[in-house]
Symmetry: C2
Subunit: 399 residues, 2 copies
């Protein structure tokens, strides 16, 4: 159930010594024969991009890649020209071992910002890593383990695409992090693989849609990392025809890529730092989908709403206040707010409700907050968590 | 040292029974003879404005006011038409007692959102409040006490304006809250008084500048309340000529109003919920002043930066990451970041520094973080605090 589930991919993960505690910290995903295949990526929107993001972007210009080298324990961000040299060196060492051009290798890093990458353990580790490549489930699992930082659980998944002729093709994926484009301690990374044949621009379009539907609908603390990266490689080893836009095969493959991203995003939310509760914020009836998303994000990122969730307190006044401050336009006296199926505010004012039912919803592990603005047809949803003492404890000291 | 310091003003504060714990919760500021004087206001930008904000805006259309009635313990927000009736009724009752038209009374509320105002204690309280009006320091103090919510300290100040002829005029002020336009638990309210004669449009211009320089440079949690209000009343009792724009008297009066707002804002930061530390975020060298302010606000509102402050951890990587995610444009490899006078990052990468000096800065009660983007001449500063367990504890349950 991982990146090795799709035919034509191998993976490996080891502890090379970047992390002081000896946990796995170096991972590799590669095509079985190290030949370049079509690839696509979505990178962080942060202006201060990490060195590996800059180098991967450069190496992906031709829409092709043969391998991805990843490390945890150090983000190689805020490291300037020196950091770019180190990121290039990681690609070169990997290419040497695999026998492919360095430009066919992508690179991802996650961990502390502003500290030079310790190259000695990486130089020694990459040959060892390459020699432990495998195509079975345990190899995929080792790779998924080696990219974790403050995660408490490995995150991997596989989804199936029906090929019409009775056969199925697979889309596998692994990820780390607490949230995408709003990550916590460090970064969100995800690598997807598929045995389908998908031309690079088509793959890029599928990935952008999938990220928009999944990782971009998740926010833990509103902070956008320097390193966020989602990659997908398509080996074509299923032996099917290349997928073109507008075909039914396109829809099927796009659905599977979306499902894999969605599942990994849910796993991230479930494993978010210090969380005791997940909350799905749904805004309906905004003037546009964009305004709905803006309003939902404002509620989700609110420290005060997150504190109320931590206390299982259905204080909808804060939700109304965040909607009003979000920049979305609506009539505050037409707003309806519900926790689960219990409506607590209608036409912008409090309404009587079943307080026992409400208490049981608030004390559950996942709360759905639905806000109907009654201003149009724009809908959007976003997932967040509560704000806890444990989140502060996790993030107040880096050492 | 309060709203009664300026000639021509009286004040009062009592406990009328809105707050269950019997703390003071009803305040009045009025001209001594209840005649309308010039007034100006800055209200919240939140779309879901509280009823008292709506009514005060209506009553201030003529740029004149005779009195301000204020309550704490209930925000009268998320209360719809019923809330507007209650806010109007507060003005009417006050006007009856003072013998002025209800349109000359302004109204402010702060406390819980979404709960109807308890009108019985207010109806009984207003006559009692009016009969305890006084022009001495203790009357001003009673009013300043009665507007507090989660504040731990009364906030009042007076500043002097030299009149050229050797005489001085006073600007007094009182406030409550943890921050303006980014307030915590409840709301930020401030009432200023001055004995200068200042026409309403001139007064409005001075107040907007002063708020921009003070309360708008303070953020605790990025949340903007439904009730935020800053009011100023100018009695003209100093007997001076009305101040016009462009005069030296204008500069002097504007400076005093700015000082009073700045002092009250600093008092709010010092009293912010759960804080252990104040941080001044200064961004220099942005392309424009607006981009500098955007970048400074992004750093100040970052949960991760606030966690690092709580842990006294000089993790500048998070500062760089927030600058990069802020939307301001700059070259990340030209950025310099300093805590106090210790530069930790130059040209976007770590630089050697005195770690003992840095530790002593980080462990102090106030930290200055200076970020030079080296992209232009735009400068801006904003004040924030750390994020602590106590902030969560204060805000996780409303009851």
């Amino acid at each position: 159930v991982s990146v090795t589930a799709a035919a034509g991919f191998e993976a490996a993960g080891i502890a090379c010594g970047i992390k002081p505690d000896g946990a796995p910290d170096l991972a590799l995903v590669t095509t079985a024969d190290c030949r370049p295949v079509t690839a696509a990526a979505v990178f962080t929107t942060n202006l201060a991009t990490a060195a590996p993001v800059q180098i991967s972007r450069e190496h992906l210009r031709d829409g092709r890649a043969a391998a991805v080298i990843l490390n945890s324990g150090n983000a190689n961000a805020g490291t300037g020209e020196h950091g770019r040299r180190d990121a290039r060196r990681m690609c070169e060492l990997t290419a040497q071992e695999l026998g492919c051009p360095p430009e066919d290798v992508l690179v991802c890093s996650t961990g502390l910002i502003g500290v030079p990458l310790p190259m000695d353990p990486i130089e020694a580790g990459i040959p060892k890593l390459a020699s432990s490549l495998g195509s079975d489930e345990s190899a995929g699992r080792a790779a998924a383990d080696a990219i974790l930082t403050t995660d408490t659980k490995r995150k991997e998944v596989v989804d199936l695409v029906e090929l019409g002729d009775g056969r199925v093709a697979r889309v596998g994926g692994m990820a780390k992090g607490a949230a995408m484009l709003s990550p916590s301690m460090a970064t969100m990374l995800a690598v997807l693989t598929t045995e389908l044949a998908i031309p690079s621009p088509v793959l890029q379009s599928m990935l952008v849609d999938a990220v928009d539907f999944s990782f971009n609908r998740l926010t833990i603390d509103g902070c956008t990392s320097t390193n966020d990266t989602v990659l997908v490689l398509a080996s074509g080893d299923a032996g099917t025809e290349p997928i073109t836009g507008g075909s039914s095969e396109y829809d099927e493959a796009a659905r599977a890529i979306r499902n894999v991203c969605w599942f990994l995003a849910q796993e991230m939310a479930a494993d978010a730092e210090g969380k005791t509760k997940i909350a799905n914020i749904v805004v309906r009836g905004a003037r546009t989908r964009e305004e709905a998303a803006t309003a939902a994000r404002a509620v989700a990122n609110s420290q005060l709403v997150q504190c109320s969730l931590n206390g299982a307190d259905p204080y909808w006044g804060r939700v109304l206040s965040e909607l009003g401050a979000s920049g979305a336009f609506f009539d505050p006296e037409k707003v309806e707010i519900a926790y689960g199926d219990v409506v607590v505010c209608r036409d912008g004012v409090a309404v009587g409700h079943d307080t026992d039912a409400l208490a049981s919803i608030m004390n559950g592990p996942a709360v759905m907050i639905t806000c109907d603005l009654n201003a149009g047809n724009g809908d959007a949803g976003i997932t967040t968590t509560d704000l806890s003492h444990a989140y502060i404890d996790e993030n107040r000291r880096t050492s």
